[in-house]
């Protein structure tokens, strides 16, 4: 190979890395976790790919991934929703209470969708109409829903409620979990990449003024992503509640952080915009769950796994924030 050809190859590689750096890093992180835990858990004699552990892994991934796929829409706007966890907690509770009252999941699902869509519309529109960071309205919802959940559980007189009389085996099958995730990914993927909803959301995230001057109705297309998220949250709540057959006042606590960390680990640009990718949700959720399931197997104490996850999160945020145009989402 001549020196010129070598130089050109080097240049091409540098260009590729610059363009696809975050994809390469996030995929690299996932591959590293897969290889690392395959070897280390194998040495410990408790392989992460054993039927039992794989089932735990999928069970852990599914709820985060279902939420994160919907949240990509919100993050692509340059927004963030911190009420996600509390919403999942509320919908899980509603599913149990209405399920127990009616003996079916369907009325609960419909009620959850109605509430989720209303919350989504208010969350999406408030930022633009009230000229405030949209994360503020999600903080308000987080607190309001927390209050509602507390009232519900104090009225019920228990911190834990169990759904009875409804067959939940569908939500416990790892195969079904994967199928539902794939279906959700394909549906959201279609809207995100091939319809105006996704294109406008990314345009708003990249430059709201330019999008508005190009005819994008900012309020409308800021609200619609939250409606997609609403459906994804109800789906996630079904699997969250269905897996255990119960809900408690602590259900969903911290899920919004799991989503955020997953998206960041998956290479989602924090400022949103044109480089937002749906694959970030699944790559990130898988990496995050591999850490959650793999670290205890190799003997890392639980309290340390939180520290390690926090450390990884911190490093990724620092790297992202060092980019000139990469402010944290609002």
């Amino acid at each position: 190979m001549t020196a010129i050809a070598q130089e050109q190859e080097k240049q091409t590689l540098v260009q590729w890395l610059k363009k696809h750096g975050s994809t390469a890093a996030s995929l690299g992180g996932l591959i590293f976790c897969i290889v690392f835990f395959s070897i280390t858990t194998g040495i410990k004699g408790e392989s992460i790919w054993s039927g039992d552990k794989l089932s735990t892994l999928i069970g852990d991934v599914i709820v985060t991934a279902l939420m994160a796929v919907g949240a990509v829409f919100i993050y692509s706007l340059g927004n963030m929703d911190v009420s996600i966890g509390k919403q999942v907690g509320l919908y899980s509770t509603m599913l149990v209470l209405i399920g127990n009252a009616t003996g079916s999941l369907l009325p609960g699902i419909l009620a959850c969708i109605a509430v989720a869509v209303i919350i989504g519309i208010i969350n999406g529109a408030a930022g633009e109409l009230l000229h405030m960071y949209s994360v503020i309205s999600s903080v308000v919802f987080m607190m309001v829903i927390s209050g509602i959940t507390t009232i519900i559980y104090s009225n019920v007189g228990s911190k834990n409620i169990i759904l009875s009389g409804v067959d939940l085996s569908f939500f416990r099958s790892p195969v079904n979990m994967v199928i539902v995730l794939v279906i959700e990914y394909l549906i959201i993927g279609y809207f995100f990449y091939f319809t105006k909803f996704g294109k406008y959301a990314r345009a708003i995230g990249a430059n709201q003024t330019a999008a508005a001057q190009s005819g994008v109705n900012i309020i409308k297309y800021r609200v619609i992503p939250y409606i997609f998220l609403a459906f994804c949250l109800v789906t996630a709540s079904l699997f969250q509640m269905g897996y255990t057959g119960a809900a408690s006042d602590a259900t969903g606590t911290g899920f919004e952080m799991n989503v955020m960390v997953s998206l960041i680990l998956g290479g989602m640009p924090l400022k949103g915009g044109m480089k937002s990718r749906l694959s970030c949700a699944v790559i990130g959720a898988l990496t995050f769950s591999l850490l959650a399931v793999g670290l205890p197997i190799i003997g890392v104490p639980t309290r340390m796994t939180f520290m390690i996850k926090a450390l990884i999160f911190l490093v990724v945020v620092l790297i992202t924030c060092r980019q000139k145009t990469g402010p944290l989402p609002r």
Partner: protein
């Protein structure tokens, strides 16, 4: 003036090369600046004229080559280091620090001069800053005010005050004048001539040929990262200088045809856009009728209200009175404007007209998305076809529609913002400073395009701070001052800039 032979070289670059990935911005450039020179640097967008001086002033390193400053090897690590050593550069973009006072901006990095025991004496700093502002003739800017209170033009002047100190040996003015009004420009011209007389070196980068020929003592022409030639004052004064320089810049005969050559002010009877008794802020009871096949030019100083008229016509502002009418319907939002066939090119290209951090294709197709939808599906093939057609029409220099807009030169970015509306098939196009920061080759292409649009029956509202292009292109010219129309004149070969300036100031 110091004689040519006696002029000492203050800065020299030898075999300078700069690469940005696969793009070569400078090939193998030798450049010399002597004391007492005001050296103009001209070239098309992407020719490398700004790159040379950005390397000299520490903004970025060269890929190869050597530099010498006052006879010593020169390799600045940052702009601060270069400025401390005497090389200052005023950039095209806004470069002030928001959220702090004018004084803090002026003495940014030099706070220690006003500090005692780690506490900055703000009163002392403010006084010193005001004194400096007065010495530059911009005393209307108050040192104690927040910088955010001032217009882009005033902030540019603050930058000038900050950059130029007694230590400054070389001042680089990089396309700054496009942001300045006539008054601001005069302040800058006076300063650079004073500095040149003191034996300092000035590098003046501009697209404005008249300005270059009036202000510079020497000229260097670049094309595609190479220096094509140098001209001295005598050569710049030659009768065919402009033609020669344009030829050197573009590499082909530009021809005499630049603006429209006809003086036909005819247009169709049908009104394409009407502003009826419009009021907004200081604009009161403004009326305008733009016909099909007509080009209306609006001129004035930057704060005269003409830019607001463009925004009003596009439905970007909530009016306190009056209506904007198109095809009998009222226009209240940009979406209504677009749907009725109006396109708008904002003067703030990088912040309002384009998604810089997005692909060319996504920018071009954005207003056309509703037309591309089949049920809910938008075909990537249809998007590519639409975008590729515009890339071809405007000859946008790029590797393809997937290339990000922020990697394009200023002229090519502007072509993308034009492409958005031609792709959409807009019948009325509001252009606010359409050729700002665009080189002559592209300008000529745009003027031809605008003329073509007129022939196709499109209606054009052309708002510009360049009187020459308004005179050259418009059928009817409206001059504004203090948010009101002061003069309206029809296209005519006798019309001169001097006839209009009195209505602007």
């Amino acid at each position: 003036m110091v004689q040519e032979m006696e002029k000492e070289i203050i800065f020299e670059a030898k075999h300078m090369r700069k690469e940005f990935g696969p793009t070569i911005a400078l090939k193998d450039v030798d450049f010399t600046l002597r004391r007492g020179e005001i050296r103009g640097l001209v070239g098309e967008n992407g020719s490398g004229k700004s790159t040379i001086m950005s390397i000299a002033s520490g903004m970025q390193p060269a890929t190869k080559g050597e530099m010498f400053y006052k006879g010593q090897p020169w390799k600045p690590a940052s702009m601060v280091e270069a400025q401390d050593a005497g090389i200052s550069m005023i950039l095209q973009e806004a470069n002030t620090i928001p959220g702090v006072t004018v004084a803090q901006n002026i003495f940014s990095g030099h706070e220690a001069e006003f500090s005692k025991f780690g506490v900055i004496n703000m009163v002392k700093m403010k006084k010193a800053a005001q004194k400096v502002l007065e010495s530059f003739g911009v005393g209307h800017i108050k040192a104690g005010d927040l910088i955010d209170r001032y217009t882009f033009e005033d902030r540019k002047l603050v930058e000038l005050v900050r950059c130029v100190t007694e230590n400054t040996e070389i001042l680089v003015v990089d396309e700054t004048t496009t942001a300045l009004s006539l008054e601001g420009r005069e302040i800058l011209y006076k300063l650079i001539h004073k500095m040149a007389d003191q034996g300092k070196g000035i590098v003046f980068v501009s697209h404005d040929m008249d300005e270059i020929l009036e202000q510079c003592t020497d000229l260097t022409v670049l094309r595609d990262g190479d220096i094509i030639g140098h001209l001295n004052r005598q050569e710049m004064d030659a009768a065919d200088a402009v033609k020669n320089i344009r030829y050197m810049m573009v590499g082909r005969e530009i021809g005499d045809k630049y603006y429209r050559e006809d003086y036909d002010t005819g247009h169709q009877e049908e009104v394409a856009l009407e502003l009826q008794d419009v009021s907004l802020g200081r604009i009161e009871h403004f009326n305008l009728k733009l016909h099909k096949g007509e080009i209306i030019g609006m001129g004035g100083l930057s704060g005269c209200g003409m830019h607001d008229v463009g925004r009003i016509a596009y439905g970007l502002e909530k009016l306190s009175g009056g209506k904007v009418i198109r095809n009998g319907k009222e226009i209240k939002t940009p979406l209504q404007a677009i749907n009725s066939g109006i396109g708008y090119i904002s003067k703030n290209r990088d912040t309002e007209a384009l998604i810089l951090n997005g692909p060319i294709q996504d920018n071009i197709v954005l207003p056309s998305i509703p037309a591309l939808i089949r049920k809910t599906f938008i075909s990537p093939k249809a998007e590519k076809k639409l975008s590729d057609a515009e890339i071809g029409n405007y000859r946008i220099k790029c590797h393809g529609g997937k290339q990000y807009v922020n990697t394009l030169s200023g002229g090519n970015k502007q072509k993308v913002s034009f492409g958005k509306w031609t792709a959409k098939g807009s019948e009325v196009i509001i252009m606010d400073c359409p050729t700002r920061g665009v080189d002559i080759g592209v300008k000529q292409a745009m003027y031809t395009l605008i003329e073509e649009m007129k022939k196709q029956g499109k209606a054009i509202l052309m708002i510009s701070e360049e009187l020459s292009e308004l005179i050259g292109m418009a059928d009817r010219l409206i001059i504004m001052k203090d948010f009101a129309v002061t003069h309206t004149v029809e296209r005519s070969p006798e019309l001169k800039q001097t006839d209009l300036i009195e209505y602007m100031i």
